[in-house]
């Protein structure tokens, strides 16, 4: 007997129990396998999807041009429904972005090892979702070319932005969120860009990746600052996620309108954002995993973890619905009650019950461990949640506006083709961005997976050692 045996049973080591990597490979092979999507020519499927997304992006460009040339009158919103698709899409897209930051930052802070295989794709999703989100506040300004009025610069008009207005809060929040997401993503990419540079055979690829990797050499000094900086950015991104969607919910909560003027909005919106974002991560990850043969690094354990998160955030969202309707009733105000009643029984009832089915009932599937690891079930559920979350923003925004205090001014809303083109166009832009990302940048964080593999090996060796010793002791 030389060393004392550890007290806890070794099989409880979290790195051994969950198969986060399904096979062990030498580092060089592992790196090459993870770089294969960017080093080999894309298949027909990729080109077909790029074609569809590019066509939708052209549609987006057409819709934006029409909005700029003719004005926001081409949209379906008008008094009393002064806000509609512009804000719905904005809230939906920015919410989708949040799961990317959640996965990469919050799970990093909590030391969750499973994040390493999915964080790069989730972060890329965040970036493209934010680009789509940022379009809408600009477009709905009416005179979008004067967007710089929102920035406090000393103009000769002596005109300052109104900082008490949620519109300026939004601008600062989105700009900050987009900037921090880009920095976080790029900092995380640096070591992998160096790997890509050193693996590539063609000179032009080496040069492009060499420029992008900024001369990264993986020195101990580099890693020391890099790790500290990466962790700090994660620590900053975590409250940022919560604050950004809180500010988005203030757009509504600071208004006096029944159905909007509610203190439950900030947490309810944050939960909804993370819920919809997780759904989008799953919608993208599952096909990408299959198409790029990433089963060894994006294992069933990852799908299981994401499905659990989907279930938990779905329960938060369901709690939000209960709160909203309970306080609508409990307020005793006829206006508040009406705002909630028309959701359940009024003209918006079909949308409301679809939301209920997609966001409350569908996630309940994932109480079952077997369904959590069924990619097809997960994917369909994720798509339904995406639809449900879009419709949720639709009813939150449109229904209180269309039937507010004065019945004589009630009017319902219908989108125009420009509205619909903007929505589908941003879906195309988002998809195009994601497809190009999969093609040109390493979609799985290579250095992190190698580090994880090393840790797993050490952990397994330790477990093996101890079990051998225990066997000997007996």
């Amino acid at each position: 007997m030389s060393e004392p045996l550890p007290l806890a049973p070794v099989t409880a080591d979290p790195l051994v129990v969950h198969p986060l990597l399904e096979e062990r490979r030498p580092d060089a092979q592992l790196g090459e396998a993870l770089l294969r999507p960017v080093l080999t020519a894309p298949g027909m499927g990729w080109w077909a999807l790029v074609g569809v997304c590019a066509a939708l992006t052209v549609l987006l460009a057409v819709a934006i041009t029409i909005t700029f040339v003719t004005g926001v009158g081409t949209w379906g919103n008008n008094i009393p429904v002064a806000w509609a698709f512009g804000i719905i899409n904005f809230v939906w897209w920015i919410g989708i972005g949040h799961a990317g930051t959640l996965i990469s930052a919050i799970l990093l802070l909590f030391g969750m090892k499973w994040r390493s295989s999915v964080n790069r794709m989730a972060e890329a999703m965040t970036l493209f979702a934010l680009v789509c989100a940022a379009l809408f506040p600009l477009l709905h300004l009416g005179r979008p070319w004067k967007f710089y009025y929102l920035v406090p610069y000393p103009s000769s008009l002596r005109m300052w932005p109104q900082f008490r207005s949620p519109l300026t809060w939004d601008v600062v929040a989105i700009t900050t969120y987009l900037t921090v997401s880009v920095l976080f993503w790029y900092l995380g990419l640096l070591p992998d860009l160096a790997t890509a540079r050193d693996t590539a055979k063609q000179v032009w690829r080496r040069r492009v990746w060499g420029l992008l990797s900024l001369g990264w050499r993986g020195s101990a000094r580099h890693w020391r600052h890099w790790r500290t900086g990466y962790l700090l950015l994660a620590g900053l991104a975590t409250p940022l996620v919560v604050s950004v969607h809180t500010i988005v919910s203030f757009d509504f909560a600071v208004a006096q309108l029944p159905g909007w003027h509610s203190t439950v909005f900030p947490p309810y919106f944050v939960a909804g954002a993370i819920f919809s974002g997780l759904a989008m991560v799953l919608s993208l990850l599952i096909p990408a995993r299959r198409a790029l043969h990433l089963h060894a690094v994006v294992t069933q354990a990852h799908l299981d973890a994401l499905a659990r998160l989907l279930l938990v955030s779905g329960l938060f969202v369901a709690y939000g619905y209960v709160q909203e309707h309970f306080f609508g009733w409990y307020s005793g105000s006829p206006y508040e009650m009406h705002a909630m009643n028309i959701l359940r029984t009024g003209p918006y009832a079909p949308a409301f019950w679809t939301v209920f089915a997609c966001n409350v009932l569908v996630p309940q599937l994932f109480w079952s461990a077997r369904l959590r690891t069924q990619p097809v079930v997960l994917w369909c559920a994720a798509l339904l949640v995406n639809v449900g979350m879009w419709l949720e923003r639709f009813i939150i925004i449109v229904s209180p506006l269309s039937e507010d205090f004065l019945p004589s001014s009630w009017r319902h809303y219908a989108p125009t083709w420009v509205d619909l083109s903007l929505l589908s166009g941003t879906v195309g832009l988002f998809g195009l961005g994601f497809l190009l990302f999969l093609r040109f940048l390493p979609p799985i964080p290579i250095s992190e997976v190698k580090e994880l593999q090393h840790e797993l090996e050490a952990s397994e060796a330790f477990a093996h050692d101890v079990s051998a010793r225990e066997g000997g002791a007996r």
């Binding site: 030498p26 580092d27 060089a28 790196g31 406090p152 002596r158 005109m159 300052w160 932005p161 109104q162 900082f163 008490r164 300026t168 809060w169 600062v172 929040a173 700009t175 900050t176 900037t179 921090v180 920095l183 790029y186 900092l187 070591p191 790997t195 540079r197 050193d198 693996t199 060499g210 420029l211 900024l214 001369g215 990264w216 050499r217 993986g218 020195s219 101990a220 000094r221 580099h222 890693w223 020391r224 600052h225 890099w226 790790r227 500290t228 900086g229 700090l232 950015l233 900053l236 991104a237 409250p239 940022l240 604050s243 500010i247 203030f250 250095s447 992190e448 190698k450 580090e451 090393h454």
Partner: protein, 175 residues
């Protein structure tokens, strides 16, 4: 002109051991180049902890103060605008932008801090011209010993070989 001797090891554990042995035998100007961060290497090389957190704190506080002052000055001093009788200096309404600006300033300074502290961006470096050194970002664990003169080169080469380096190379160039 600076000179280095580089040695490649096949596993991080061996590299850390070699670094420890090199330091014990008097080679102090060491660096390691690895495909992923290796535990213990900072301690063995005697690197101090990064001071980026302090930079982030200062930048964050600066961003917050700056944003609050801009809002107070524009809304309450330079162009007071009475909206529904609300106070001109409306602190709670200034909080969202103050917070976001703190985060923005801190994040920007962290990113630039990492880049500057690592001596990036640089597109060329003597090491990057070596074909064998490409493994430093793939599966090789390299130790770099900075040396003076040709005796230093010989001594370092000998030491690295003795410690079991698979490849030993001497480089010179501008650091």
């Amino acid at each position: 002109m600076s000179r280095w001797v580089l040695g490649e090891f096949r596993s991080p554990e061996r590299m850390v051991e070699a670094a420890r042995a090199l330091r014990a035998s008097g080679f102090l100007r060491l660096d390691a180049h690895t495909p992923y961060p290796v535990e213990d290497v900072d301690a063995v090389l005697g690197l101090p902890t990064s001071r980026l957190p302090l930079l982030a704190l200062l930048a964050g506080v600066g961003g917050a103060v700056g944003a609050y002052v801009v809002q107070w000055f524009t809304q309450a001093v330079d162009w007071p605008l009475n909206v529904g009788g609300r106070p001109l200096h409306s602190g709670p309404a200034f909080i969202p932008i103050t917070f976001e600006s703190a985060v923005l300033a801190a994040a920007g300074s962290i990113f630039l801090g990492v880049i500057v502290a690592c001596g990036l961006p640089r597109v060329t470096h003597p090491f990057l011209h070596l074909e064998a050194f490409r493994s430093a970002s793939i599966d090789g664990f390299w130790l770099a010993v900075a040396v003076d003169g040709s005796e230093g080169v010989d001594a370092a080469e000998g030491a690295l070989r003795q410690l079991g380096a698979a490849v030993v190379l001497a480089v010179e160039g501008r650091r």
